[in-house]
């Protein structure tokens, strides 16, 4: 069994790309057949919305004439061939997007491999590992994206979220591999314009380019001139051998301790204010981002007016959906939706925890050269689990960045299994009261809320585990 899996993983990646693309094409063909015979269409409602909006554009009108079109006009422009060439064209574009995302995931990894003697070397024992296991890791993280049922269905149903993921990954790619910061700024601007949520990553990108950003916590400590103390002097030599690494033995014993003499741990220091003074690279990033974001907004505002601003940006800020969903805040929001005298404190308490977490993750992981991807991952998870509306579609945002850091998260297999089980179980038990409410008309709001609470707890637990397993030592130092 193992060897079959091993063989499958290590097949040439081009084969996987091809196979994944063929799977998507087959599903697109199937969707045509399914839609022609079934009342419940396979194709997403939004796909029809895109096509209708594209028709408006072709006729020289505004895509926002189509009700519930709440995207950038770019989406409608992309799918214009739906009307000219074939109605499946958009779905094929989204699937090609998927494949390019897979390539980007792969290229990110290859860079690590090429640079293994360079600064980005963070796999502690990379010298001793043959290329094999690293290759396997690269392939596995690509496969996680390619064969993920969620990503396959989302793009073949004709949802544009995979393109949003593509822009986010392209930003990360240009930022980390191409080092062309103006270009990454431009792409980041496009991705914010395309789907508002990447705006939350901006601070992390900014911090990544800061001169205060270091490669390891050790570097940070060195730069702070603090004395490193080791618990066991015999490990000192080992540590020198694998410089720039964060090594922790998994079974106690040898351990690089954080400085023993921690004088004071403060949350805020005055020096931190220096972090926000931009350097040249950061300025390039900011200008690029502002140029593309504002020029796109300006162009489309001139073309389609306020309706464009409202539907593309403002709506997503003021969106309030009372219908039941996975979110922790669903029931609270529904109860207080039309109650007038609700204090501002409630709103603040809903927003504050996620703002705090987003800021902390941007600073903590953004200021480290090789945890940028992890910073994006944790921020995405925070955004999704604290969102006031949470549906399965939002998990795609996580799925897109997860493969980038799978190899940095050293989680024991049984823990992975356990977390996955409780994650699916929490969703499963949510489904029961939701089903009773939606299809049986029973008043189960309270139970849905309780399940929402438990799902939130599961998500927070998983996030906590990810953080504590991030860059944990892979192997015990001999």
């Amino acid at each position: 069994m193992y060897s079959v899996w091993h063989k499958f993983v290590n097949i040439n990646y081009k084969f996987h790309l091809l196979l994944a693309f063929v799977i998507r094409l087959v599903l697109i063909l199937y969707s045509n057949y399914h839609d022609s015979i079934s009342e419940v269409p396979y194709t997403d409602v939004d796909y029809k919305v895109f096509t209708d909006a594209a028709r408006h554009i072709l006729n020289g009108k505004s895509p926002y004439n189509r009700h519930t079109y709440r995207y950038s006009p770019l989406v409608a422009i992309f799918v214009i061939p739906n009307l000219i060439v074939h109605r499946n064209f958009g779905k094929i574009i989204f699937s090609v997007g998927d494949i390019i995302v897979a390539l980007l995931i792969r290229h990110r990894k290859q860079l690590k491999q090429h640079n293994k003697h360079g600064k980005l070397n963070i796999v502690p024992t990379v010298k001793s590992i043959a290329n094999g296991p690293l290759d396997t890791m690269v392939n596995i993280s690509m496969l996680i994206w390619l064969y993920n049922p969620l990503t396959i269905t989302i793009s073949t149903r004709g949802n544009c979220d995979s393109l949003a993921a593509f822009f986010v990954l392209l930003t990360l790619y240009t930022l980390q591999c191409q080092r062309s910061y103006f270009l990454s700024g431009i792409i980041h601007g496009i991705s914010i314009h395309f789907r508002l949520y990447p705006v939350m990553y901006s601070l992390a990108f900014f911090m990544f380019l800061s001169k205060f950003a270091v490669y390891t916590t050790e570097d940070r400590r060195k730069s702070n001139n603090t004395v490193m103390t080791l618990e066991n002097t015999s490990t000192m030599r080992q540590v020198r051998d694998t410089e720039n690494s964060v090594v922790l033995s998994s079974k106690g014993g040898h351990k690089i301790l954080p400085c023993k003499e921690i004088k004071e741990r403060t949350i805020f220091k005055k020096e931190y204010l220096l972090y926000v003074v931009p350097n040249l690279d950061q300025l390039k990033l900011i200008t690029g981002c502002l140029i593309s974001l504002f020029s796109l907004t300006y162009i489309f505002y001139n073309m389609y007016g306020y309706k464009f601003l409202y539907e593309t940006y403002i709506y997503h800020f003021i969106r309030r959906d009372t219908r039941h969903n996975f979110s922790l805040y669903f029931y609270l929001q529904y109860l207080t939706m039309w109650v007038k005298n609700i204090g501002i404190w409630q709103k603040a308490l809903v927003v504050l925890p996620q703002i705090v977490l987003l800021l902390v993750f941007s600073m903590r992981y953004g200021l480290n050269k090789f945890s940028l991807n992890f910073s994006i991952l944790t921020q995405t998870i925070v955004m999704v689990i604290y969102n006031s509306v949470l549906t399965s579609q939002y998990f795609l945002w996580i799925m897109a960045v997860l493969p980038l850091c799978v190899w940095q998260i050293n989680m024991p297999k049984n823990m992975v299994f356990f977390l996955l089980t409780i994650w699916f179980a929490a969703q499963g038990v949510w489904l029961l009261p939701a089903y009773l409410l939606e299809f049986k008309g029973e008043n189960t709001f309270m139970f849905i809320w309780i399940q929402g609470v438990s799902f939130f707890c599961v998500n927070v637990t998983i996030l906590g585990r990810l953080i504590s397993c991030f860059l944990h030592c892979r192997e015990k130092i001999v």
Partner: protein, 242 residues
């Protein structure tokens, strides 16, 4: 009152009588005897309204020769809605010819939504016994103290007839209604509201409503949990290796 007046009055009365009871041997007027059975299927937020429309008189053949059109019009109260995209799909599949009149906001809650109407055009060729299934969706209602269920009255559908051939007239003094001629709704026609035998009672649909009595518990636990999650993550971060 002159004799002439009396005569006219009695003639009018006779005509009214004639129209009301639709004497079928009158060549100018066609009696229509239609019965409708209504059934609402499913219980949650998504319901199917099923109508069984039966033409008891005239016979199928003579009805078809008249080339008259039948349609059902249902006024949808603000507590529910017909999804325009969904019925458009049904139209595309040829299962249900409909036209939705009015703007439908599928996301709005009951007290913020507007009413709209739907016209269901009945298939002429199988007119003697025709079943129609219309999917409707209930809207969320404003949460209230003690929660429970909200009531949504379901109106009876109106039966409309329109005979393009001018010489055919259908008996009855139905109201004239301007409505789209067909599901394409390019032109308006004058339809006539027809009486029918309703073999069903008016119903009310029930929809679950959030309970404001839960508010103290829900708000305290939700908000505290949000903060607790944040604090937990921060504490994990403070001990994490990186």
């Amino acid at each position: 009152m002159s004799i002439l007046d009396t005569a006219i009055t009695s003639a009018i009365l006779y005509l009214v009588f004639l129209q009301d009871y639709c004497i079928s041997n009158d060549s100018e007027c066609l009696t229509l005897d239609i019965s409708i059975t209504q059934k609402v299927e499913y219980e949650g937020f998504h319901r199917d309204i099923k109508w069984l429309v039966e033409i008891l008189h005239p016979s199928k053949e003579s009805w078809l020769s008249l080339s008259c059109n039948l349609a059902l019009r249902l006024d949808i109260s603000s507590g529910m809605f017909v999804n325009p995209d969904e019925v458009a799909d049904l139209k595309r599949m040829g299962k249900l010819l409909t036209y939705v009149d009015g703007n439908v906001d599928v996301e709005a809650a009951a007290h913020e939504a507007t009413e709209h109407s739907i016209y269901v055009y009945l298939n002429n060729s199988q007119i003697d016994k025709l079943s129609v299934k219309l999917p409707v969706h209930l809207r969320y209602q404003r949460s209230q103290i003690t929660g429970g269920y909200g009531k949504i009255p379901l109106a009876k559908p109106s039966l409309l007839t329109w005979c393009p051939a001018n010489d055919t007239k259908i008996c009855g003094r139905g109201l004239k209604v301007e409505a789209p001629c067909d599901a394409e709704a390019l032109t308006l026609c004058v339809w006539k509201n027809q009486t029918y035998q309703a073999l069903f009672d008016e119903v009310e649909l029930f929809v679950p409503v959030g309970d404001l009595d839960d508010y103290p518990l829900v708000s305290i636990v939700t908000l505290l949990l949000g903060c607790a999650g944040c604090i937990y993550i921060l504490s994990v971060l403070s001990t994490a290796p990186l």
